[in-house]
Symmetry: C2
Subunit: 465 residues, 2 copies
């Protein structure tokens, strides 16, 4: 606070240098606006984050996958020259239930017909229910009040009857929302399915949200976008703590600068947006929405091996189960398959429990799971990387926000509408692929369009400086 | 931020000048500590707030009642010389259900025996279930996982069968938590009942939490405490935006001062505590708890009349019902009964809806209810005061926080334990009378004791300056 304060001007200030904020910045710069992106961290990327292995190859320790219907993030990648490569998806998957391990050919394991029937029925029911939910206004769904009065756990208790069925529902909540079925409203869960365009889109590798990865890691999108925008437009280590807003302008403050602008786009999760100070204060409904949008809990664990030994065993590296802390894994090798990288997700209740363990103890639990899925070779990594997203000060959880019962029907209408000159972006505000990188890009495009529609920016060819 | 920064020292900094913070300050000053209370507003009192009527008599527009088992706030009142007076509780109560209005003698209206039976059974069941919940660790209750997997609405749908029964559950959630039954975990609801010492303690006037009021208004407690502490100890208009904490001290910053201290007590609701910046950042579990503790929504509405006309009609001023926005009222006259003041609560969904109306329209809805309960005379007030607590920047909702499903069992253990030299107070951290003024006082006493146990303060008679 003792640092000298710089007073500056811009057309639009964007809070947050993740995919949403940078996409909005690219769009507004193209429209002729003078833009300043303020990023709290000393890096861009938000929930995308690359990690360089010894030797320089990159693995992703944040959001990483992209699927065929995620066309806005794919368009951004094309524009920025970032290619995709397929997620390794050859060989059998592993399922461990009640101590029994099967390696099976997709789509489903040939075990427990009653359990499979139960899962199939539940999915069909969820699919049918999700079609009721209009993604731009979930509170208008037929039966919205009732769907938003119960948790997914309550629904599951009445509609799913086998251990396999309930485990599937749990795995589903954990793997897409990083929370437990008892933390999420049934209406939110259905919205989420619908927002992704259906059940299979969320869960599948081939044809689904896990189909491809970005060459060089997903953060490459943000790094290139920031590069294109330049250091004069993207300012790091600049946490915004206060936004004064009036009828003709906004004044955005960080600990060492004060920027006056026509409008501001807040491109961070709703909960983080609630931690900024606003003057005048925001309406109660908008503030209380930010109190009701908690982030999921996830620790991403990467075990590095000399080679992907599971491939030799005819396995895809994809495993799931009810055993231990790691309930889902993927093959996460670089495109050329070397070194071998096994990715394990610790989500929801497990993430909260493991976060409190000593690192050695946590690692022990993680590798116990890897061994159970892939055998004793999994016990001998050459490297191990883990990242607890609940500990990240400027995100405070991943993959995104989940809404508890009562939130959509009571507070949903405050999610997207601007408050005066303050506009909201971030994947949580997207109607399509909410919670995904694609949703972030869509939200940035939408917020930029809102701003551009309201302000007459100078076309870029008229800018003289 | 441009103002000169003062560097100061204290033994203990207390964030928040409500009942919790001021109680902690009194206790620590008595223990010989040099204390500085930093209050964001330009007044003390937090969720207590007096309003002076023309002529100087005071009514409460924040928390106001006190009951016989709330012995810590009563002890504080005695110490500060604040007397109590009984809530007016003479005459018949009014109940409006499905358009039918009855004025009845307490305890219960002689109508709808099936409904009454249903209510009685539900209450007995809630009472029995609440006895399972250990208030210091609700996650250890028998069946905690299951109770915390459902909303009160889900429970009610399976256990309450009549309109009267469900309306009672709704009224109950609205009147004690200011939210709807679908927003709160069944486990939290049971904890709340237990924390108050039982059902009747929460709902009753005579013998319960609404039995008495403070002469001069409840804020008088805070005003006198601040007076006793003095302006050198209680600093107004000082929002804390950052707490740097280490192994030997804390450094607490407001926009224009920096205070170094041995320890800090953060005496604000968990959600507000989450909006402060911490360096190093807090553990993920603690941060995510603050994401999962939303505040209730309430607009307090006071209609002032020349005289309390309802008393002439043999009515107590207490009404409840399923009609319109005001679902509960009380006689809120000053002790001498003049002027007449009728207090109406707009809570939960109604508060969110009414907050978005134009003031005239909101007022129209409120008085429609007053008329329905008390007849046409209610339509002619001499004054009208309303206060929307969701709009209060430094509280952002009342009466307190409610926990959605999954919160107690997953995040409960992070509620009270200090993080290094940071201690947590506020009524939400109290095991007894959580959410009430008494809980706030208890939490302040507990946090002060934590700090005093760990630091050797100079006894006051040895202080020389």
């Amino acid at each position: 606070m003792a640092a000298p304060t710089l007073a500056e001007e811009a057309d639009v200030v964007i809070v947050g240098g993740g995919l949403a904020g940078l996409t909005a910045a690219l769009a507004l710069v193209a429209a002729g606006a003078k833009v300043l992106v303020l990023e709290a961290r000393d890096r861009v990327g938000g929930r995308t984050l690359n990690h360089a292995l010894p030797g320089g190859k990159v693995v992703e320790i944040g959001g990483q996958w992209v699927g065929p219907s995620q066309d806005r993030v794919l368009a951004l990648a094309r524009r920025l020259g970032v290619a995709t490569h397929p997620t390794y998806n050859v060989g059998r998957n592993v399922l461990v239930l009640k101590g029994r391990r099967v390696a099976y050919h997709r789509p489903v394991p040939l075990m427990n017909p009653l359990g499979l029937l139960d899962v199939g029925r539940a999915m069909a029911r969820l699919r049918r229910l999700s079609r009721r939910v209009p993604v731009s206004a979930p509170w208008e769904a037929r039966g919205a009040e009732r769907l938003d009065s119960q948790t997914l756990a309550s629904w599951s208790r009445r509609n799913v009857f086998t251990h396999m069925g309930r485990t599937t529902v749990e795995l589903f909540a954990q793997s897409v929302l990083a929370c437990e079925p008892n933390e999420v409203s049934m209406l939110h869960f259905l919205f989420y399915i619908r927002s992704a365009g259906g059940f299979r889109n969320l869960t599948e590798v081939a044809g689904g949200a896990q189909q491809d990865r970005f060459v060089g890691g997903s953060q490459e999108l943000c790094l290139r976008a920031a590069d294109e925008l330049g250091p004069g437009t993207v300012r790091l280590a600049s946490p915004v703590w206060r936004i004064v807003h009036g009828t003709d302008r906004v004044v955005v403050s960080t600990p060492d600068s004060v920027i006056t602008a026509k409008r501001v786009i807040v491109a961070v999760p709703p909960m983080m947006a609630g931690r900024i100070g606003y003057d005048p204060p925001l309406p109660g409904l908008r503030d209380q929405l930010t109190q009701k949008a908690p982030m999921g809990s996830v620790i991403k664990c990467l075990a590095v091996y000399d080679r992907p030994f599971w491939r030799d065993d005819g396995l895809s590296g994809q495993a799931a189960g009810d055993c231990g802390a790691v309930r889902a894994t993927f093959d996460n090798c670089p495109p050329d398959g070397s070194p071998g990288v096994l990715l394990g997700f610790v989500e929801g209740a497990n993430a909260r429990r493991l976060a409190r363990l000593e690192p050695a103890e946590r690692r022990r639990e993680v590798f116990e799971c890897f061994e159970r899925y892939f055998g004793p070779k999994a016990a001998h990594p050459v490297d191990y990387i883990e990242h607890d997203w609940t500990g990240e000060q400027w995100t405070r959880g991943c993959y995104g926000a989940h809404f508890a019962p009562g939130t959509w029907t009571q507070f949903g209408p405050a999610l997207r509408p601007p408050v005066g000159r303050i506009h909201w972006a971030g994947t949580e505000t997207s109607t399509e692929w909410c919670g995904y990188m694609d949703g972030a890009v869509r939200s940035g495009e939408r917020a930029a369009a809102e701003v551009a529609d309201l302000e007459a920016f100078t076309a870029p060819d008229l800018v003289l400086d």
